[in-house]
Symmetry: C2
Subunit: 252 residues, 2 copies
């Protein structure tokens, strides 16, 4: 579901590309599964998309990017495979000052530490903090209702962020960009909120251009899901920002 925020950003950055989007709705969420299981599911999804002739693959999920990007590279080279962790870390380091970066993500992303490592590798002097926000995925999928309740949950998970704490927030889950405005309201204009959707889209656009892979056929998107088309369409529009048309069910 969250990958639709990345798709929305990609479509904006690359209006002339054709996109094939696969939502693994039968097996979501990936955020509580082991690395081995995520690698297995990601490989199956990638194979299916490659069989349909894609020229490049964007792993629009933080858990799958953190757990499976290397195995996908190894399995499907020379096809370009882009994840969301590295572009997110680049953007956060570019935005950060010495107060540090706070990564907000699912339990498994925080425990796995991929963002923390990517940030520290880029600049070891910027302090890096991580916080698991276990309710946010479900809350994001509920849509925009209950504004005051959403605020209570966000405030709870941001408790202890006193003045002097990190002023850069990295949204390390593709579900979380739907909370960007609320986070900015809660934390004030001094806090920079970086999400990996926009930064990944910019990175993919740059890479396609530099490797001569840019399309010029007029844009368009086709949707595939592994289960539950109704829920995919109803919930997905909150993340895509528009209605989802025509979903094909595939069995992986």
């Amino acid at each position: 579901m969250g990958g639709l925020t990345v798709l929305a950003a990609l479509r904006k950055a690359l209006p002339d590309e054709q996109f094939l989007y696969l939502g693994d709705t039968a097996r979501l969420p990936y955020g509580t599964k082991t690395v081995e299981t995520v690698q297995r599911y990601a490989a199956k999804a990638a194979s299916h998309l490659i069989d349909r002739g894609v020229k490049a693959l964007v792993v629009a999920c933080n858990t799958a990017s953190a757990s499976a990007l290397q195995t996908l590279h190894a399995a499907f080279a020379p096809l370009p495979v882009y994840g969301v962790v590295e572009p997110g870390a680049d953007a956060a380091i570019a935005a950060a000052d010495n107060s540090g970066v706070l990564v907000l993500a699912t339990e498994s992303t925080i425990q796995g530490g991929a963002y923390q490592r990517a940030l520290t590798t880029r600049n070891a002097r910027i302090p890096v903090y991580g916080r698991a926000c276990p309710l946010w995925v479900t809350m994001a999928e509920q849509g925009p209702q209950n504004a005051s309740f959403t605020r209570t949950v966000l405030q709870h998970d941001l408790r202890g962020l006193v003045p002097g704490g990190p002023t850069t927030l990295l949204l390390g889950c593709t579900h979380f960009p739907v909370f960007t405005n609320r986070l900015q309201d809660l934390l004030g204009a001094d806090v920079r909120v970086v999400d990996s959707a926009r930064t990944t889209a910019a990175y993919v656009a740059e890479q396609l251009a530099s490797t001569g892979l840019l399309g010029a056929h007029g844009g368009g998107t086709r949707y595939l899901a592994t289960d539950g088309v109704n829920r995919f369409v109803q919930v997905g529009r909150h993340f895509l920002g528009e209605e989802i048309q025509q979903v094909e069910v595939v069995d992986l």
Copy 2:
């Protein structure tokens, strides 16, 4: 995960039985999947347990009980297959007065309407209400910390339960019994909280006795999980009420 509340109740009701518990941790949660997918996953899990020689099957999940009980009966007869919906409905109707029954459950259980139908079939004059509580599963899996926050979420989802509303609450999700005391505190002693874990255990004990299937070999439990043993052990103890020993990983 929530099935462990049913297991805990079964072990108490049937101390001389041997239990084989399968947690489909690779594919949880079932609560957002389609009926067809839940039926497929439930059949695979049931086959695996039957291959290991079980004498009866308890579907300790509301979603799977509501979606797959009939297909499991048809596929595996004459093996007894027990679900949690019917015993829960029996107990709620026995407890209810004319103010009605409020079913609290996941999105898909409420939308599917299995509890509402089971209740209305038993007594069409008792009003039946349903409310989806989408955050409770995740919150239950976080364990007992954050008491005040938990209270806020429960209060939010019980909003509008004014005097004159239903005084019987049926917890239609196996995760929810961990909130029983808090719900009782919030709503007062006049509200009866019925959970399907205890009522299913009592029903299964009665059925095994009446069909001559009671065991007398000394109790014991073996645990199987399809993924993520660490998380299963850490999260599962909140639901089981004790530590989980030795989990075997199986691939369905």
